[in-house]
Amino acid sequence: MISPIAQSLNSAYGVKELQEQIKQAASQPPGGLPKVSDVEKPGGLGPIGPARGPSGTSFSDMLGDLVQAVDGKSKAADAEAQKLMLGESNNIHQSMIAMQESSLAFTLLVEVRNKLVESYQELMRMPV
């Protein structure tokens, strides 16, 4: 379970893979816990499922949305820049703003990834 996630965390563009891994890992109970039959007693621990937010969106959904939003923003920036380059538009400010927004979105994505890596490493350091 450990190595595939670690590998994908280490590649900047591995967020989609990360998302897949998290989905899979979260939906399976980790090995090493007592068998399900031992645990299914009233008041006992239930199987671990994916964490769900109050509105039912999981963390992996949020990450997916973020990736798509970043993609959308950078496409918009490219379209604006192309319009400017081809002379179809003369609004510099729209192009500049689009560029800055896409750069900001990307920075956000990178920071989220950094924090995920950090917290994962933090988690791994915890003595069981």
Binding site: M85, S89, N90, N91, H93, M96, M99
Partner: protein, 140 residues
């Protein structure tokens, strides 16, 4: 070609047109005393008329900026004043000379108007450039 300054075509057309007018008015002033041109007649004052032209659609919402161009350069056919000057080489039998129909005061006014318009359009370009440079610094 990239069009980074809004309405640059419009302003460029105005600069060209005003320059033509300046040239023509200067020519009028220079020939205010030309009593015999290449055709043997006194110099006829030239008049520049402007007309608006529709530029390429550009900017937001496809609004067209209307530039300006020189419509026509016509000759003023009115006769100039007759001046008594018997010693002038072009004097007729009665000692009268037909001067060009150039009124220096009016030409000076035209010159100043054209010159001010030219300056105004230059400042439009300068201002637009400043605006564009400010936009380029967004985010830094």
């Amino acid at each position: 070609m990239m069009n980074l300054i809004p309405a640059i075509d419009v302003t460029a057309s105005a600069l060209t047109a005003e320059k033509v007018k300046l040239d023509v008015v200067s020519q009028n002033i220079a020939n205010a005393h030309t009593t015999r041109g290449p055709d043997g007649m006194p110099y006829a004052r030239k008049i520049v008329s402007f007309e608006a032209e529709l530029n390429r659609a550009g900017g937001l919402g496809g609004a067209t900026g209307q530039g300006v161009r020189v419509g026509q350069i016509t000759e003023d056919k009115s006769l100039g004043p007759l001046v008594y000057n018997p010693s002038h080489p072009d004097a007729d039998a009665g000692g009268m000379v037909r001067m060009p129909n150039v009124n220096l005061a009016m030409e000076m006014v035209d010159l100043m108007t054209a010159s001010r318009s030219y300056e105004a359009n230059l400042s439009v370009v300068r201002t637009a450039r400043q605006m564009a440079q400010k936009a380029l610094r967004i985010g830094s």
